[in-house]
Symmetry: C2
Subunit: 180 residues, 2 copies
C-alpha cells in the first residue's frame, strides 16, 4: 500500500502498457481515485441529493461517468458507433437530466463503484494490446469534426474531472443544508 | 481560423515544444478554451453570482485558476516555494472562500480573461525552453509526498476542469433563478 501512496502524485508511464498510453492511464487513475474520494461514505439517500431538487444527483453523475467510458470503448476499440440496442442501454446515463434521476436512484455507493470498476477493467485490458501510434489515429467525430484517439480518452477523464468538481460542490451544498 | 477549429479535438505534440510537453500543452489549451466558453457573455454581476449567496462565484473560480497556474510556475520553473510576498498576493485566489469573494467582485469578464492570458503566456514561454525529461523530475510535494513536474502541470489543468464543471453548474443554477 505504501508504494502506491508514494506514486500518488507521479504521472508517468506504466508497466505493461506502451509509454504514452501508460501516462494517459496514469492521469485516468488519479482522476478516478479522486472521484471515489469525493463520494466516500455517502449513503444511498445522499447520493440522490440534488440542489433545490433540480439538476443532477451525485449518483447520476457517477453513473454518467461509467456510461461515457463505455461509449468511448465502443467508438475506439470496436471502431464503430454504438448500435441502437447499446444506445438504448447507455442513453439515460449519457444524457442525464430528469429522466436519469427517475431511473437511477436509491442505490448504495457499491452499485456505482462496481459499475465504474467493471467498465475500467475492460479499458485496461484493451489498452494493453494497443501501440502508442493508435492514439494518433484520426477519425470522424460528430458530423463536422475529426478527433484522434488520444483526444477521446482525454475527454473521458476531462469529463469525469468536470463532474468530480460538480460532485464536490453538490456535497458541500448538502452539508450546509444538513447543518441547517 | 478554420485550421484551428479543425484541431479542436486533436491532442498531439505542438511545433516549438518537446513532444510530451506539447501534448500536455494541447490538453491545457483545450481545457482553457472550454473554460472561456463556459463563461462567455457573462456580465460582472453574473460573474459574482453565488448559489444561495454562499460558496464561490464564477469570477472567484476564474481568478483561482490563474493563481494556481502562477504558483506552479514558481514551484516548477523557479524550483522554489513562493516567498511570503508572493504568497500574500496569491493566497486570496488560492484559498478561495468568503474572503476571496469580498475582494474579487464587480469585475468584467475582461479582467479575468487578461489575467488568465498573462499567466498562460509566461507558461508557454518557459515550456519552450524545457526538455521532456524535465517532466519526470521528482521533488518534494508537501511535507510527506513527492511529485514529478508532469503531475504538477496535470494538476494545473485537472483543477481547472474541476472548477469548469462547477462554473457550468453555477451558471445553470443562475439561469433557473433568472427564469424564475
Amino acid at each position: 500500500m505504501k508504494s502506491t501512496e508514494d506514486k500518488r502524485f507521479i504521472i508517468e508511464k506504466k508497466s505493461g502498457y506502451n509509454s504514452i498510453i501508460g501516462r494517459l492511464l496514469s492521469m485516468m487513475d488519479y482522476t478516478r481515485m479522486t472521484t471515489l474520494e469525493a463520494v466516500n461514505n455517502l449513503t444511498a439517500k445522499e447520493l440522490d441529493y440534488r440542489i433545490d431538487v433540480k439538476g443532477n444527483s451525485i449518483g447520476c453523475l457517477l453513473y454518467h461517468m461509467a456510461c461515457v467510458e463505455e461509449v468511448y470503448q465502443i467508438i475506439t476499440f470496436e471502431e464503430r458507433d454504438p448500435t441502437d440496442k447499446e444506445l438504448q442501454k447507455l442513453e439515460v446515463g449519457l444524457n442525464l437530466g430528469e429522466k436519469a434521476h427517475q431511473i437511477i436512484h436509491n442505490k448504495e455507493i457499491e452499485f456505482y463503484r462496481e459499475q465504474l470498476n467493471r467498465v475500467r477493467e475492460h479499458t485496461l485490458e484493451r489498452f494493453r494490446e494497443k501501440e502508442d501510434s493508435w492514439l494518433d489515429e484520426v477519425s470522424p467525430f460528430g458530423p463536422n469534426n475529426v478527433a484522434n484517439n488520444y483526444f477521446r480518452w482525454f475527454h473521458v477523464f476531462e469529463d469525469e474531472l468536470n463532474h468530480r468538481g460538480q460532485i464536490r460542490l453538490i456535497r458541500q451544498h448538502m452539508k450546509r443544508k444538513q447543518e441547517g
